[in-house]
C-alpha cells in the first residue's frame, strides 16, 4: 500500500492564481482531513470529510474548497491564492472504529509559496 499520497510536492503560485492540491489514499479509510502547517503554529485543520459526498469546515476554511466524490480522493482547491496561504499542506486519513485509538495517517505534504 502506498498509504496517503499528495501531489505536487512543491508549487509556486502568483497572487490570484488558482490550483488544486491532490490527495489520494489506498487504505479504504472513510475519514480524510486537510491541514496546513505554519512555522511555530502547529497544524490547523482546514476541511475534513467523513465519507464520499460529505465534507465540513475545520478551524481555518476561508479561501479553500474541497470535494469528496470517491472514498480514495480528497482534493483541496485554492481559488484566489493569497500570500497568507503560503504554507505546507498535509492530507491525512483515518478509519474511525468505535472504542479504538484512531490513527490519522499523513501524506508527505505539499509546500506552497504564493508570491
Amino acid at each position: 500500500n502506498a498509504g496517503v499520497t499528495q501531489t505536487p510536492k512543491f508549487r509556486i503560485l502568483k497572487i490570484g492564481q488558482s490550483m488544486t492540491l491532490q490527495c489520494t489514499q489506498d487504505m479504504n479509510h472513510n475519514y480524510m482531513y486537510w491541514y496546513r502547517q505554519d512555522p511555530g503554529m502547529g497544524l490547523k485543520l482546514i476541511y475534513y470529510s467523513v465519507g464520499a459526498g460529505i465534507t465540513d469546515k475545520g478551524e481555518v476554511p476561508n479561501g479553500y474548497n474541497v470535494s469528496r466524490s470517491t472514498t480514495e480522493d480528497f482534493p483541496l482547491r485554492l481559488e484566489l491564492a493569497a500570500p497568507s496561504q503560503t504554507s505546507v499542506y498535509f492530507c491525512a486519513s483515518s478509519s474511525r472504529t468505535s472504542g479504538s485509538t484512531d490513527t490519522q495517517y499523513f501524506g508527505p505534504g505539499t509546500r506552497l509559496t504564493v508570491l
Binding site: V4, Y31, Y33, Y35, G40, M41, G42, L43, K44, L45, Y48, V50, D56, G58, E59, F90, A92, S94, R96, T101, D102, T103, Q104, Y105, F106, G107, P108, G109
Partner: protein, 112 residues
C-alpha cells in the same frame, strides 16, 4: 477552549537522557490524546496515543502520562537517542469525527 498548549518550544537532551514534553488542554470533552513525531520534510506520524480512562501508557522507550484532573498530559522519552531528534506534536481530539487540535510543537535535539 479549543487550544492545546505545548511546552517547551525546543529541547536539547544528551544521549541517554530523558526528554519530557508537556501539554495542557481546556476542553474536558476531548477524549483522545495522541503524540505525533515529524522529521524534516516528512508528514507527521503517530508515535503513541492515550484515552482519558488510563493515567499512563508505555510503548518501548515512549510513555504518555495523563492527569485528567489537571487537564495535562506529557510525553517522556527514556534513553533518548540522536535518531529521536525531530519535532513532536501533542494533539487532542473528540467525538465521532475525531478532529484533532494540535499543539505548536517541540523541536527536540538529542546530542551524541
Amino acid at each position: 477552549q479549543q487550544q492545546v498548549k505545548q511546552s517547551p518550544q525546543s529541547l536539547i537532551v544528551q544521549k541517554g537522557g530523558i526528554s519530557i514534553i508537556n501539554c495542557a488542554y481546556e476542553n474536558t470533552a476531548f477524549d483522545y490524546f495522541p503524540w505525533y513525531q515529524q522529521f524534516p520534510g516528512k508528514g507527521p506520524a503517530l508515535l503513541i496515543a492515550i484515552r482519558p480512562d488510563v493515567s499512563e501508557k508505555k510503548e518501548g522507550r515512549f510513555t504518555i502520562s495523563f492527569n485528567k484532573s489537571a487537564k495535562q498530559f506529557s510525553l517522556h522519552i527514556m534513553d533518548s537517542q540522536p535518531g529521536d531528534s525531530a519535532t513532536y506534536f501533542c494533539a487532542a481530539g473528540r467525538g465521532a469525527t475525531n478532529k484533532l487540535i494540535f499543539g505548536t510543537g517541540t523541536l527536540l535535539a538529542v546530542q551524541p
